[in-house]
């Protein structure tokens, strides 16, 4: 009965010799918010485009709604809403026209489209801009138009490729709120992001991708406990001096990570680690203890210089 909405097994995408997606496996369940997290070029967009049936798979198995993208691409696309990484709005048309014309591609009757468009513009708080052309809108407003447009067909599954990249914090929060509401209404969301806080806020479950592979999978909380410690101690010794202290510092924590400007010490008790270092006369220019976050998981999994 409860089949996953999306199933991928050994999914591969190659562009010539370049392997963009390298044998990934994942399932997305009905009603969940599923995230792809990963650095630039990890293969997030390539994966999303295969799910969106606009990019043929190179090999492996992919099923969406139990259908195959090769045989039933049209039928699948009719049931999904896509927010692409780059807005693909028609800048010369008004906000409302963008929605109504897009609805025509789904064969939605014009009057139904108009009614839905009005509702959706209300939902993304753009009602008063509905007769303005898209061109002069701000980045965040365009993004909201894209989201409204992707919803015009009342999709069962939403594919959102970096929905909030380039937005100011306020616009991001508005979008998060809208996406959260969609999820509450039962939509399944699949999204990609670089933002850890976004993944923590929105995703029930996520995979971390790097170099075309899935390097970790789980709920945000779960990933943090698996791949990071409870606390992180951040220390700055001044540019160029961080490396000098690695060996001493690594004695007080479980792991040390060297970033260009600072050292991260993963420890159960950050303050304790800092106190020990001070006793040994190792005094950083500045130090900060914080709870670990998904960002630490991300940094660990997607590679910086690691010292265990």
């Amino acid at each position: 009965m409860n089949e996953p909405l999306i199933t991928a097994r050994s999914l591969v995408k190659k562009f010539g010799d370049l392997v963009a997606v390298d044998e990934i496996d994942f399932d997305v369940e009905q009603g969940e918010a599923f995230g792809f997290l990963g650095p630039n070029g990890a293969g997030k967009t390539s994966s999303m485009r295969m799910i969106g049936c606009v990019s043929p798979t190179t090999s492996g198995r992919l099923e969406i709604f139990g259908l195959s993208p090769t045989a039933d691409g049209r039928a699948i696309r009719a049931r999904i809403g896509v927010v692409p990484q780059m807005d693909q709005l028609d800048n010369e048309l008004t906000v409302l026209e963008n929605l109504v014309i897009y609805a025509r591609y789904f064969d939605i009757p014009r009057d139904v489209a108009r009614a839905r468009a009005a509702e959706l513009l209300e939902f993304v708080q753009l009602t008063e801009r509905k007769d303005d052309t898209v061109d002069p809108l701000s980045g965040g407003q365009k993004r909201r138009v894209s989201i409204a447009r992707s919803l015009i067909s009342e999709p069962e599954l939403m594919l959102l490729d970096e929905p909030t990249t380039g937005l100011d914090p306020q616009a991001r929060h508005v979008l998060w709120d809208r996406l959260y509401q969609l999820k509450e209404r039962g939509a399944t969301l699949v999204l990609t992001t670089h933002y850890m806080d976004e993944a923590e806020q929105l995703c029930d479950r996520l995979v971390v991708m790097n170099g075309g592979k899935i390097v970790a999978e789980g709920s945000p909380r779960n990933l943090i406990t698996t791949y990071a410690t409870r606390e992180v101690l951040e220390m700055r010794f001044g540019r160029g001096h961080n490396e000098e202290h690695v060996s001493e510092v690594s004695q007080v924590g479980e792991r040390v990570e060297i970033l260009p400007d600072r050292l991260l010490v993963y420890a159960h008790d950050g303050e304790g680690a800092l106190a020990t270092l001070r006793e040994r006369n190792i005094i950083p220019e500045s130090a900060l203890v914080r709870r670990s976050s998904l960002e630490d998981v991300f940094l660990r999994l997607t590679g910086r210089t690691l010292v265990d």
Binding site: F15, G52, V54, S55, P56, G73, R74, A75, R77, A78, V82, P84, M86, Q88, L89, D90, N91, I101, Y102, R104, Y105, F106, D107, S153
Partner: protein, 246 residues
Amino acid sequence: MFYRRIWKSNLVGAFFQPVLYLLGIGLGVGALVDQGPNSAAVLDGFSYFAFYSSALIATMAMFTASQEALWPTMDGFQWSHAYRAMTSTPIAPRDVATGLTIFYAAKTTVGAIGVAVVLAFFDETRSWGLIGAVPAGVLTGLAFAVPLAAWTSSRTTPDSFPPILRFIIIPMFLFGGAFYPIEQLPDWLEPVAWVTPLWHGVELARGSILQTLPEGRGLLHVGVLCAYIVLGWMACVVTFERRLNP
């Protein structure tokens, strides 16, 4: 069905351009040519004005449609990504190819009707054949636009477009039988004209307007133009697929 919206075509342009060409060349050059000693024989007994202006539906269609298949089509693929947006819906790349073909047809129809209306004002070209010349113009336009769209979809910059106009479209305009019968060309060039879509379009439009076209020849011209369109559409299906669904 769902296909692309049809942009407001420039109606003023549809009338203004042919009038300009007619007055500039048809009447001006015509006055000179018609005084030539054997012009009547070369032009099948028609005045130069009738000869030249009856080709106009085909040549104008070629220009309108070709231009439409270059920059504005590149916009959909490369700049606005409108076709990407379309193909994330149930629409597939082959539907985009069909939709574009219909759009080019609509655009050239407006242009061809514009020229036909203008030609109807002149005694020498006023005939029921004008009605047949409109679809002849549309076929001519499509025979250019559809293959060009396949080319455009395989490009990421418009760098090749001016040379296409300069080295393909303009030479056809000059040597494709619009200004003088291709029999006047050097013998080695004549067969080249036979394979160009413009010559077939010009012959078809002229033959229809001046009612000089034997039925068999007419069908041949239609067949060649259709072949360009069908092959072009098939190329579009392949290149659009490659471009939109990499």
